[in-house]
Amino acid sequence: MLIVGVLISLMLWCSNSSAQFIQHNYIEVGKTNASGGIYLDAASLSAIRYKHIHAELGFLFPLTEFDKFLSTFYASAGVDFKIKNLPVEIHALFTDKLVSEFISELQFGIIAGVKTKHVHVFLGNNTRLFNLTRNAIEQSRNDNYRKLQIVEKLNLMYSLSYLVFPQENKWNIIASVLNYDYFLIHQETNPFVSVRFTYNPRENIGLYSEIVYKSAGFNNIQVNYFGVNLLTGILWEIDF
């Protein structure tokens, strides 16, 4: 709640100045080995950028009844600057996911990266905490629970993207290898690949479609198909 409060305050403060507001909505349809069928999610992210500071809040809404992805909250805040004409971005992020009726997951991370004309690279680290929900604890009050939390302290986050055309081009193709998106951070040993097609019909509106392929057992296990998802979204930039 503290993080939400700080971010909303930052957004309100920025909105009184010459800031840029970005609304990002997308829908995602996919199927994985663990989803129990096709799932459909909708996401809404609101970002504000003022000079070199930016903050973002987002929610993931499950639209199918599979009880796998109930809801996720995302928040981030960061700064961008230049080192010898190289644009650098650093942001801290937080996600809160209700995994099921009984388990929730919190993730804290910090990630930094550079964006050149054709290559975007981000590296960071996150900590994951699995918690038993209040519902789980209350329902099972009589049982002898030994621990309510699991902590994974260190997990590498990475994203390597190649842009076929420079970022300012009206349309583009972006190929990426990464282990996280807004609402899901995988362990470092589970990279996935994505190809995103972007088109900007107007200067302040961006449309995109993306296909994401996930495999299990990368590295020292035989690679097996895990899942595919398709995203399509819109970004709308509003200058105050």
Binding site: T32, N33, A34, S35, G36, K68, F69, K84, N85, L86, V99, S100, F102, I103, E105, V114, T116, K117, H118, V119, V121, F130, L132, A136, S140, D143, Y145, R146, K147, L148, Q149, I150, E152, L154, N155, L160, L184, I185, H186, Q187, E188, T189, N190, K214, A216, G217, F218, N219, N220, I221, Q222, V223, N224, Y225, F226, G227
Partner: protein, 286 residues
Amino acid sequence: MGNRFLKIGLFAVFFTGALLMSSCIGDADFTGFFRSSVRVNERFEQSLEWNTQHAPRRIVCENNNYRLFFASDIHIGGTENFQKILNDSKSAETDGLFLVGDIVSGKEEDYNILVESLARESIENYFIQVGNHELYFNGWKWFRQYFGTSVYPVEIVTPLAKDLVICLDSGGGTLGPLQLEWLEELLRNVRQNYRHCIVLHHCNFFQSDFSTSATPLSEELYELMNLFFTYSVDMVIMGHVHISSEENFGPTRYICLDAALDGAKNASYLRLDCSDDHLVYQYISL
């Protein structure tokens, strides 16, 4: 110039990373980076078919206390530690020896050594599980020929109670949708009939330290943790990462075994005793 430097740097980082991540280089089948010789759904279906043609696996104990051994990541070729485990198993009169994956490299000659060792020591109550190495070099062919199935429940029957051990095939880094559905059905339908329930899953769930060993993807991890909580699984025993660790979460104790590989630092196996309704375990150094 800056861009070129960046590109070279990135290439170096990822190339070095890929090399470092090949943690079992000597016994690795590098084709596994790109493809799987037999996919998990196919192995699962073949395993279930085998299960239907054979009697359910059962350990029948004469009294209410029993003892089980669990060992992982032996990586035969070398058999020094494996022989110690077999000797201990005989002398301790264990009721079951569970081999939690990566027992061989996947090569036919290593499967032969494993089978010969078990036969020579007349070990019959053993239960082997697929790890990633069992599948290298088209190793499923040999696993299937010698052991038949990689997914099966084992019932432990004592005069007063019944316990359940579930062996899963996680050698490909995912259970796949069919096996996951089977596991959920099994737990939903029969868990209440058993006092204790232990699940064996070769791949480690959590990263207690920096590791390059592949783990289940988050979506599958969520599903499994939820199942194990919902159906009060007592223990999940894993291997793969070669370093022991333990996590407790709700009713479930997640135990990752040390490697029992010859020459491995901290090589050990796990001895589990069920006595007076309690599961008590300790690591036995090799």
